[in-house]
Symmetry: C2
């Protein structure tokens, strides 16, 4: 039985390219005691992967070269020598950029009777819990407040805004282009969405944000960094709170400065960076809430699905540029 | 009886100048019921005053034009029609840039038997409580940690480092020039002090900081902003905490960007701006601790004293450029 795998073979300088990856075929060895063989249905593509491609200090060690790229996966157990799992089980784990994985742990069974399997890589998975944590534990969102979020049509941002609305907040998103913005307000129910591509000038962007946030901003969830964050900082109410979740705009090279750090002082803001994997204690409660909302149709989400492992690198590059619309997956 | 007062008569564009101020003489009116007449002994000059001179959104309303400049003062009650105060009482308050003030409240009596009156404008006053709050409530300093602070020889920074040492932390300061640095390590007992003037290049500054912080930095107290803060951000340990108290380097004009905001994410830092007047609940405990330390000689401080109200503007300009050494006062 043959597996197909994508390895990281070199580190990007600037934008990653196809040459940084290599697709190989390798035989699947017979299972040892305690092991499980999983056939992946979907691979998740996430912005954090770009950071792992660099050989730099970050919140996680770099992706080692010549090993299978890290990545979340959902799939089915097709063979098990582990008493906790049996063939046919649906599982979510960190299977990586490959069609099969052999693991002895680090997976969990999921129920697909009311929740589609792929949702466990999105709103009922890491992106959903990320949104939940930042909104509840860092922004400390409360009814009546205004909550802003960048990459609002994305896997994390879409959940941030919908959870904020469910709490009774005003939700304001940033997204790129009219299609995404219409989706954010029309489908997801945000109160407003700012098309950052239509406001290249910082003053125009601030003006659009001001119009969308008549009472200022109390909590902000940052996925991107750069001009939108600068505008948000200027628009924050006193004692506002900013959850720093992603800085995708600076992942490819030059760091993007924060233009007005003195406003963090004058408005007495709190800005906190976080990574959800350090807060495993909240996952059960968050996943229960998120799963219920998805199962009952109250939490909407959208997926961009690339077909086949070969398509993963291009889909990944597109996601880094915001070409995806909703959660980026690869169907394996 | 005649009072001499300094008014703000215009707002600076860039560095403030003598023309922004006007010294006038005005008669002191007879006291009304409930009022107290205070003869000021010392006026405090503080960096926050520069912010108040601008007509911009900040944590406090701008200083109104053609009114007496705001400022902390200590002095003696010389006449009272208020039952809470009597002639001879030593009081601290916000008397402003003038030789006398007439108030009906907003002052408190202080004991000068073990603590010099001027110290109530420094280590046992607003600067001291500012240091106490940022170190304890934002940095959450604990024994064994490394605490950094900019403007380490100043009224606030000197207290931050000494309180950190008293907790069992490693204290590392930034100051301008060998005299201040020698004072910070020799007199105040910091473990190290970085002369930022000797390291104009960001890489050199980072190198000096790295050498002074072999275990990284766990908590940082920022009084200045700019290159030192950039170096500190890069040197912070995971989950480090930064108290943003002052951004004096950017008060005169162009905002100074924060160069590496993405590190706030990758190191999962918390950065929080604060103003101590919003945390009056901690003042009694903080002042008790600070007063005891000063009275017993365990908390050292230094004062730069300008002579006479006329000297206040020049002394203020000098303080903004770091020409003072320790707490800047004006003897009235």
């Amino acid at each position: 039985m043959t597996n197909r795998q994508i390895l990281l073979v070199s580190r990007p300088t600037g934008e990653p390219t196809r040459d940084n990856f290599k697709l190989i075929e390798s035989p699947i060895q017979p299972l040892a005691d305690g092991q499980v063989l999983i056939k992946h249905s979907y691979l998740s593509l996430d912005p954090y992967m770009r950071g792992r491609m660099n050989d730099a200090k970050s919140y996680a060690p770099p992706q080692p070269l010549n090993e299978v790229m890290i990545g979340g996966t959902v799939g089915d157990v097709i063979e098990s020598r582990n008493p906790s799992f049996k063939a046919g089980d649906h599982v979510v784990g960190m299977g990586g950029w490959q069609e099969y994985s052999v693991v002895s742990g680090g997976i969990r069974k999921v129920d697909t009777s009311h929740i589609p399997l792929s949702a466990y890589l999105g709103p009922v998975g890491m992106p959903g819990v990320t949104a939940w944590y930042g909104l509840n534990k860092i922004c400390e969102a409360k009814a009546g407040q205004t909550i802003a979020v960048t990459a609002a049509s994305g896997a994390v941002g879409s959940v941030v805004g919908q959870l904020a609305k469910a709490k009774g907040c005003r939700a304001v998103g940033f997204a790129g282009g009219p299609d995404k913005c219409n989706y954010v307000t029309g489908e997801l129910g945000f109160d407003a969405c700012i098309d950052y591509k239509a406001h290249a000038d910082p003053k125009a962007l601030y003006g659009a944000l001001k119009a969308a946030t008549p009472n200022g901003i109390d909590g902000h969830f940052e996925n991107v960094g750069g001009p939108a964050l600068d505008a948000v900082v200027l628009r924050m109410n006193d004692h506002g709170r900013i959850a720093l979740c992603g800085m995708i705009s600076g992942y490819n090279g030059e760091p993007i400065p924060l233009r007005f750090p003195s406003v963090l002082l004058t408005s007495r803001l709190t800005l906190q960076g976080f990574i959800v994997s350090e807060h495993m204690d909240v996952w059960p409660a968050a996943l229960t809430e998120l799963g219920t909302l998805v199962a009952t149709g109250k939490l909407k989400y959208r997926e961009s699905i690339a077909e086949g492992l070969d398509a993963a690198p291009e889909a990944f590059f597109g996601m880094l540029k915001g070409k995806n619309f909703g959660k980026q997956l690869v169907k394996l």
